[in-house]
């Protein structure tokens, strides 16, 4: 079995966090990136051939994956291959949909001539043994198996829902139904018999924005091929929104987290270029937090996830926040419920996350949950106040803040930055 990992999505609901990186390359849990989870699952499940399909802002993703050394995917045969869209003699196009991306790489899969192909997406946090799923697939003589998990009935309308018989065979699909008739949600993880998938992709090659959920699976179902639902009951988290991203990070801090990174079994691997230990100074207070390698902490940190190489100045107070790699936080800052992306610099004595709960004026559906979101490489001057449900990106100076304050609900994106 070989795996195809879809990592081309932008993840626009993560706002400024994905302005310059694809969602799978967004940092998670102090030292990881989201794509580490499916990649580690692959190698832990014994899958050593993985094609990673990239499209949106792939630089960070490419450098992170490299030749796959951290995941032991640097192989003589197989290993990890990054597959970007490419020009063809006729009909060159971007990847227009999930299935279209696979279709454009038929030759890659054909070169391994696999029996089964596993389709994964690069934006979920979970530990899963794909081999167990494959056993299930074989046992049932299925031609397609969809990984599903039970979700609360009230949330079911956000997902693709499957309705199965008692053996797990799928009878019907509902895509984001108003009134769901089951609570088994598709996780976007599929195992296909390669001949069937190949046939479906070729047949539907003219389908615009060809998608697994919308086109390929219904196609297989209509052919009356056996399509099964594999029920997964472990931890699985879609980190598609800022709120769920923040929540999933915060869950790691629990004394015995539901999603435990400290188990010997099923390790999560990552490309960590920062080796030294972290230094905690005389004045610091740290509680209920996780902190990455090479960080230098001189302030107070509570309920937070701090990435590698972060510097926190004297007297700074960090609460309920996610601080990514190489961020510098000046002395005397107060930072509450914020997400600060990589290499940002926060000037001394600035305060983030105060004031009213006013909704964001431009993108209320993205910048909500009372979070302050700071983009990559952003610079925030000293002595400014930033309210809730805000986003800041780019090199800002004091003039950008009216009376030294960015009110709740405002968005400050400097010229040259994408919204």
């Amino acid at each position: 079995m070989i795996a195809m990992l879809l990592a081309g999505g932008q993840g626009s609901r993560l706002g400024v966090l994905t302005a310059r990186v694809a969602k799978p390359a967004v940092a998670f849990g102090g030292k990881y990136r989201i794509i580490d989870f499916p990649l580690s699952n692959c190698i832990n499940s014994g899958i050593d051939t993985v094609g990673v399909l990239t499209q949106y802002q792939p630089l960070r993703l490419n450098t992170h994956i490299g030749i796959g050394i951290p995941w032991d995917l640097d192989r003589n045969i197989g290993g990890v291959t990054v597959l970007p869209p490419y020009e063809k003699s006729a009909n060159s196009e971007w990847y227009t949909g999930t299935a279209n991306a696979i279709y454009q790489n038929l030759t890659y899969i054909d070169s391994f001539n696999p029996d089964y192909v596993l389709i994964l997406s690069g934006d979920h946090i979970y530990k899963m043994d794909y081999e167990v799923m494959l056993d299930f697939h074989k046992e049932n003589h299925a031609e397609v198996t969809i990984a599903t998990m039970p979700v609360p009935m009230e949330e079911a309308s956000r997902f693709g829902i499957v309705i199965t018989d008692e053996t797990g065979k799928i009878q019907e699909f509902e895509e984001k139904p108003e009134v769901p008739s089951s609570n088994l949600a598709s996780m976007g993880i599929y195992i296909f018999n390669w001949p069937l998938l190949r046939q479906a992709l070729s047949e539907l090659s003219d389908q615009p924005q060809c998608d697994f959920g919308k086109h390929i699976i219904p196609y297989c179902h209509d052919l009356e091929k056996p399509v099964y639902a594999y029920e997964f009951n472990g931890y699985w988290k879609d980190v598609g929104t800022l709120g769920s991203y923040w929540e999933a990070n915060m869950e790691l801090i629990d004394i015995i987290p539901e999603f435990n990174l400290y188990e010997e079994f099923w390790k999560i691997y990552t490309n960590s270029d920062i080796i030294p230990p972290q230094y905690i100074s005389e004045q610091s207070i740290i509680e209920r937090s996780i902190i990455g390698d090479g960080a230098e902490i001189c302030g107070e940190v509570r309920n937070s996830v701090i990435g590698s190489g972060v510097t926190i100045g004297e007297g700074a107070i960090i609460r309920d926040s996610i601080i990514m790699k190489d961020v510098e936080i000046g002395a005397g800052c107060v930072i509450e419920k914020s997400i600060i992306a990589e290499s940002a610099k926060i000037g001394e004595r600035s305060t983030l996350g105060i004031g009213s709960d006013a909704a964001n004026k431009i993108k209320p559906d993205v910048y909500s949950f009372g979070l302050v979101t700071i983009g990559e490489d952003t610079i925030i001057p000293a002595d400014v106040l930033i309210g809730k449900n805000t986003a800041v990106s780019g090199i800002t100076s004091r003039e950008d803040y009216i009376d030294g304050m960015l009110e709740s609900g405002e968005t400050l994106i400097k010229a040259g930055e994408q919204l």
Binding site: G29, G30, K31, I69, P70, I253, I255, L261, Y262, K267, I268, Y269, T270, S272, I275, P276, P277, Q278, Y279, I280, S281, E282, S284, I285, I286, E287, R288, S289, I290, I291, G292, D293, G294, E296, V301, V305, I306, S308
Partner: protein
Amino acid sequence: MRAVGIILAGGNNRKMKELTAKRATAAMPIAGSYRSIDFALSNMSNSHVQSVAVLTQYNTRSLNEHLNSSKWWDFGRKHGGLYVFTPTITNNNSDWYRGTADAIYQNIEFLKRCHEPYVIITSGDAVYKLDYNKVLEYHIAKKADITVVCKHLETGEDASRFGTVKLDEDMRIEEFEEKPMVAASNTVSTGVYIIRRRQLIDLIEHCASEDRYDFVNDILIRYKNLKNIYGYKIESYWSNISTVDAYYKTNMDFLKPEVRNYFFKQYPEVYSKVSDLPPAKYNPGAAVKNSLISSGCIINGMVENSVLFKKVFVGNNCVIKNSIILNDVYLGDNTYIENCIVESRDTIRANTRYVGEKEIKVVVERNERYGM
């Protein structure tokens, strides 16, 4: 780089007490995330030395495990690479390495098959950063036969556990005493040498033909007046770890911002084998002051002025002061540890108390460990 490297990592030092019971000094963990040999290896790699031989014989398991792949130090190359040589039985030899010169002699084939004109010899038990290219330039400019890298120790530091040297105005070594009873000079040899490869082969073969085995006594000291042996002084941080006190002090030095900055932040980097551990975790009850904490640690208690290596578990109400806790140690609840070095993979039972009274205590406690 026009030199090959040799790292002498064979040794064990009785002054390290229990700490080297299970590993060679070169494999001693340093500064939370490193091992002693990483510094020499990173220097080699950063000086663009392509072939490096590590000569080792004492309890090599830990060292071999650390060196299981050369890619961490960027030696996974088509040309050259990292070679680990332990003593082997051959047609004309069945001895262990009887000394540093003998260790090189037994692997003389490695030297004979290289094409680089120079050899850099260093030990695996020192913490330092050095660009060997600079030393080589100096060596060539001085037309030296052998260049010895020297360090002037601060007053108060004990020079008598090193080879002490006395230099003339031209930096030529006038006197060289190995581990003198009373040190006449505060300038010591760091155990880093540069020498022409042909010259080294001749000296080593001649030495072996006289049944002499030690590089310092039988080559450096014996040839002192015959050959041009020069000293190259370094001013930067250099620390040898081969006593319990020196080992403790070297680790504690990393609590100083200037030392951390020099090794962790300034170019070039020190490389080490990557262990896939999650970030350190601070639970309620954690109170950490002026300490280094490595990845994989879970902290529920108090840690002060200490260095915690990887994957240390600190139980509830523990107090750790002025101590070094090596890799993968489990400290049960209410443990009190002060002025100690706790050996790696120890499991300390709850309510235990260890205090180093007059000197640093090395704690070795093996207990059954239950799943965490």
